[in-house]
């Protein structure tokens, strides 16, 4: 049919073709309009009676049914988060006559908090009329108060519900997080119909990360209610169901699907030991199983009681928590960034050994301070004093700064940075909860990106010197350091840290255990691993070892390293003395360790803010965690 495109258009034929198409279109239009009209006749004439009754007086209500939230277990099956029966005050927007007045009256009865008034009003208005909105949790007494006045509050009801309960309270706060009332912000990111019956949602930690698994699927039942909201027909009552199916053609119900239970890597015995050891301090402890990345303990102190959030924290109480100078809401374990101090030395030693920068057995003389050639600035020994001649082994055992000042300049910042990067410094470890900070691994490249002004971008040799002892720009999180330590313990065959190790189907109760995530391999010569391990064992066992006192009497080999992170810069001519500086400006105390040194099963990093020297405050915490772990494991150590 195709002619050359330059051919003359045949207007007559074209018009006839067009006319036929228009006629066809006209016929289709009439047919579709007829279909629509028939549909309307069906709805408005034949089904008029049914729909009319539905709209007059008797209303059709769909009651959503909440799923039971999944439980959270530790690795030994101990329940960390469960559900307990409670009373909730709920509002059904479409049945309330005067919202403002109703809220005022409830406030007078002390059933809702005055500071929540406006937020609740907005929340009710933002829901569809039939969706129940939770106003508050009630004590038994409050429930009784309301029950006798119920008739005065159309649209307000008491509902028996399951509220989240955390039996370990503070000890689980930063790992598990908490659930809270669904806020307007939450509504933006969830499937609203799935939450039609739920009043709580995971806000932080595990509760948030595995919200989808824990929540389950909403169910519903259709009811016919009268104008006062009283249920006339309920499909779960058989007589009603038959009665009503004649009226509106059947009511349906669908049971909710309970959320899945999840099994965490945490061992609550270690968790409690760490929490107890840190309870009066500001600090954090993270313990990881180097064989699979399981996080065994994850503590940040001071903490808060997650049960208060689950029960509904008033605005005033919440503000008090955020204003607290000790910042209990900050998760220090993954969002607190600190200079690693001397804990970085074993890692730098590995880099030096790999690059054959130095003969590890050749002593270097430590006069107590270090000068860069041609400069007068003094890089001082952290604790003061002199070490005399030290080789690499001694430098780790005694934590000699001068040795590492010099070593850092010999390795050079680029090799040092790339060697440390392999252990995960300067990047998030990938733990499966939100909020992790990446810390800082300084390098000339990082500095160029970090600073906008050209003159700030220059890398100085002095910054290399500082990086050698984990000071200056370098920042790590306790989680990051524990992860690096675990990778060290596993001789480079590390796993990303993880909380989730298994999911139990909420209905069938079948448990599916997950394989650890793939390896993140750091390659080093076996002799080098041995060298650094032996030096770290020396830290806890040799006469001059900085961690010896804290680990005295332990029957298995512990590879450890102390660290002291400077908060306050001491003047060139002054000497740092603990008593002289304000408590908040005192050094942070670090201790990292893994044990048993020969076949490591646990790697730990602990920081105590303003705790002073690493062995003083942090090492005893590590010891308590180790004791809890090996007591629980029934581990019999071979004689050292």
């Amino acid at each position: 049919m195709a002619g050359p495109s330059l051919a003359l258009k045949d207007h007559w034929q074209e018009q006839r073709l067009f006319l036929s198409r228009i006629i066809a279109a006209g016929i289709i239009i009439l047919l579709l309009t007829g279909l629509l009209a028939m549909r309307l006749v069906q709805l408005q004439i034949f089904d008029y009676q049914r729909f009319s009754e539905l709209s007059q007086g008797n209303r059709y209500r769909i009651e959503p049914l909440p799923p039971n939230r999944g439980l959270i277990y530790d690795r030994n099956g101990i329940v960390i988060a469960e559900n307990q029966p409670s009373w909730e005050l709920i509002a059904i927007g479409e049945e309330i006559d005067n919202l403002q007045e109703t809220l005022n009256s409830l406030e007078k009865l002390n059933l809702i908090d005055a500071s929540e008034h406006n937020a609740l009003r907005d929340l009710i208005r933002s829901h569809r009329g039939f969706e129940p909105v939770k106003l508050s949790n009630l004590t038994e007494e409050q429930a009784a108060t309301f029950a006798v006045r119920r008739h005065r509050f159309p649209g307000i009801e008491i509902q028996e519900a399951l509220a989240r309960y955390y039996p370990f309270g503070e000890a689980s706060a930063h790992a598990i997080g908490y659930v809270g009332s669904i806020s307007l912000a939450d509504l933006e990111r969830i499937d609203r119909s799935e939450y039609a019956a739920s009043s709580q949602i995971g806000k932080t930690g595990i509760e948030r990360a595995y919200e989808t698994d824990l929540h389950g699927r909403v169910g519903y039942r259709q009811q016919v209610v009268n104008a006062q909201g009283r249920v006339l027909f309920d499909p779960t009552v058989k007589a009603h169901a038959e009665n009503v199916s004649n009226l509106i053609g059947g009511l349906e119900s669908k049971p909710p699907v309970p959320g899945n239970n999840i099994v965490l890597s945490l061992d609550m015995r270690l968790q409690l030991a760490a929490q107890e050891a840190l309870k009066d301090a500001r600090g954090a402890a993270v313990a990881i199983d180097p064989r699979n990345g399981d996080v065994l303990a994850f503590v940040s102190t001071p903490a808060f009681d997650p049960n208060r959030f689950a029960a509904g924290l008033s605005r005033a109480d919440y503000n008090a928590l955020t204003m607290d100078a000790d910042k209990p809401l900050v998760n220090r374990a993954l969002a607190g960034t600190y200079p690693p101090g001397s804990t970085v030395k074993p890692f730098i030693s590995l880099v030096a050994l790999e690059h054959e920068t130095i003969d590890p057995h050749k002593p270097v003389y430590c006069p107590g301070e270090y000068h860069l050639p041609g400069q007068t600035h003094r890089y001082r020994e952290g604790k003061g004093g002199t070490h005399g001649p030290v080789d690499m082994h001694d430098a780790i055992v005694r934590s000699c700064d001068v040795y590492y000042y010099q070593l850092a300049t010999m390795i050079g910042i680029d090799d040092m940075a790339s060697g440390l990067k392999a252990f995960g410094f300067g990047a998030v470890s990938g733990l499966d909860i939100e909020g992790e900070k990446s810390g800082i691994l300084p390098s000339p490249e990082w500095k160029r990106k970090r600073f906008a002004r050209r003159e700030d971008q220059t890398w100085y040799l002095g910054e290399t010197v500082n990086t050698g002892v984990g000071q200056g720009y370098m920042l790590v999180t306790p989680l990051q350091l524990a992860h690096a330590e675990a990778t060290m313990a596993a001789r480079g065959e590390g796993h990303p840290p993880r909380f989730l190790i298994g999911i139990e189907n909420g209905t069938t109760r079948a448990v599916k255990y997950l394989d650890p995530a793939s390896l993140t391999r750091v390659a080093h010569n076996p002799e080098h691993w041995d060298f650094v391990r032996d030096a770290m064992v020396g830290v806890t066992s040799e006469a001059h070892g900085t961690g010896r006192a804290a680990m005295k009497g332990i029957t298995y080999k512990v590879a450890g390293k102390t660290g002291t992170a400077q908060v306050f810069t001491v003047g060139q001519e002054e000497k740092y003395k603990e008593g002289d500086v304000d408590e908040r400006l005192r050094d942070h105390s670090w201790f990292t360790a893994y044990a048993p040194a020969d076949e490591p099963r646990i790697a730990i990093a602990v920081i105590v803010e303003n705790g002073g020297f690493g062995a003083d405050a942090a090492a005893p915490v590590v010891r308590k965690i180790l004791e809890a772990y090996f007591a629980a494991e029934g581990y019999v150590a071979s004689e050292p």
């Binding site: 049919m1 195709a2 002619g3 495109s5 051919a7 258009k9 045949d10 207007h11 007559w12 034929q13 074209e14 018009q15 073709l17 067009f18 006319l19 198409r21 228009i22 279109a25 006209g26 239009i29 579709l32 309009t33 279909l35 629509l36 009209a37 549909r39 309307l40 006749v41 709805l43 408005q44 004439i45 089904d47 008029y48 049914r50 729909f51 009319s52 539905l54 709209s55 007059q56 209303r59 059709y60 769909i62 959503p64 479409e94 569809r128 009329g129 609203r192 119909s193 039609a196 909403v218 519903y220 259709q222 349906e252």
Partner: protein, 376 residues
């Protein structure tokens, strides 16, 4: 050919009436449009909860639409044709701009902010796509060859794909509908239509793969609205109750219980057809449908009277697209069609689509008003 010319001369030469001097004013079209907007205003007043202020804003939008209508009525179709590729490619470029901004803003991005006004570039394509197809066939011989059909399909699907990516599936479907109707009017053979339909069926799984979760949910709920009574199905159920309880004569103006007890969602926008059904009954709805059909009829009459390929195809496509809008909305509200966010033209509250629609009618009026007395 001479016979055809003669006929044109006879039907168009005599009795042309121009009330405002040299200006083109299509009286039947204006009367019908104002009637529908008037009926719509009455229903909207009720749906808005008897809020005169909100109704006035809708009146202003209609006024803006009327202005667009008058301006475009005066532009001779020749110029419309010359500008078509420019408008089309400008629209495509703006879609890309919006897309890139959306990438940066990490989220759905449909609006282009020009500082003074914000508008959706996808609205341009609702008119530009059928115009471009008509432009493409204007110099060519009808019916189109296979390769020409492929070209036209590309003209329609490329912008539709960009819009669907925003993601705005509703508007993408409208663009496909308006462009597709133009292609059908161009006279592609029945076999090609069948081939396209089969290809479309095969493409469905691919499309499904690229759909967003909420779009898939809509398809599911369409197939079985009662399966999601807490979500989208709720709208369908409540709309059916509203329409059905209206009966033959309706409950009377401002007396719709479903609408006023806030059972009916989106009652001033996508679901206003249900408000009309509840308050004015079957008779009210049928009257409204008759008014819509009259406009479509007027449009098709203009298309039949048009003198060249471009205007003929454009006028036909605009009229059929208008019917498509009405049918999709009414079908959706009464439960014949899936829930797609298509407003009821000229009645639903909202400004963007109103101006586009009236601009389209302006072109119809221009096509009719600028017919030549003599054959070209």
């Amino acid at each position: 050919m001479s016979l055809a010319n003669l006929e044109w001369g006879r039907t168009t030469g005599a009795g042309r009436w121009r009330p405002l001097g040299g200006l083109v004013v299509d009286v039947p079209l204006i009367v019908l449009l104002c009637l529908i907007a008037g009926v719509g205003g009455v229903v909207l007043y009720s749906a808005l909860g008897a809020d005169l202020g909100l109704l006035l804003r809708q009146g202003m939008r209609f006024g803006l639409g009327l202005a667009a209508f008058f301006v475009l009525s005066q532009v001779p179709p020749r110029y419309l044709r010359i500008f078509t590729p420019w408008v089309f490619f400008l629209g495509l470029a703006l879609l890309l701009v919006v897309m890139v901004e959306g990438e940066i803003g990490k989220g759905a991005q449909r609006w282009l902010d020009l500082g003074v006004v914000r508008f959706q570039p996808s609205e341009i394509l609702k008119l530009a796509a059928p115009m471009m197809v008509a432009w493409f066939m204007h110099e060519r011989r009808l019916p189109p060859t296979f390769m020409q059909t492929v070209a036209m399909v590309l003209i329609v699907t490329v912008p539709a794909f960009l819009i669907a990516e925003q993601p705005d599936l509703g508007t993408a479907l409208l663009v496909i509908a308006s462009g597709g109707l133009t292609i059908l009017l161009a006279g592609i053979s029945v076999w090609v239509m069948l081939a396209v339909a089969i290809a479309g069926l095969c493409a469905a799984p691919v499309l499904w793969h690229y759909m967003h979760d909420y779009q898939r949910a809509r398809v599911f709920v369409f197939l079985n609205p009662e399966s999601d009574p807490l979500g989208t199905g709720y709208n369908t159920i409540q709309a059916k109750i509203a329409i059905g309880s209206g009966g033959l004569f309706g409950k009377g103006w401002l007396n719709g219980t479903q609408a006023h007890l806030e059972f009916l969602p989106e009652r001033s926008t996508d679901f206003i057809f249900a408000v009309m059904g509840e308050e004015f009954g079957l008779l009210g709805l049928l009257l409204l449908i008759v008014l819509y059909l009259a406009i479509v009829g007027r449009g098709l009459y203009i298309a039949l009277q048009a003198q060249d390929t471009f205007t003929r195809l454009l006028a036909g496509a605009l009229s059929l697209t208008f019917f498509f809008y009405v049918f999709v909305n009414a079908g959706m509200v009464s439960g014949l069609m899936p829930i797609v966010g298509v407003p009821l033209p000229l009645v639903s509250a909202g400004g963007t689509s109103m101006v586009t629609l009236m601009a389209g009618f302006g072109m119809l009026a221009s096509i009719h008003g600028h017919r030549k007395l003599m054959a070209p």
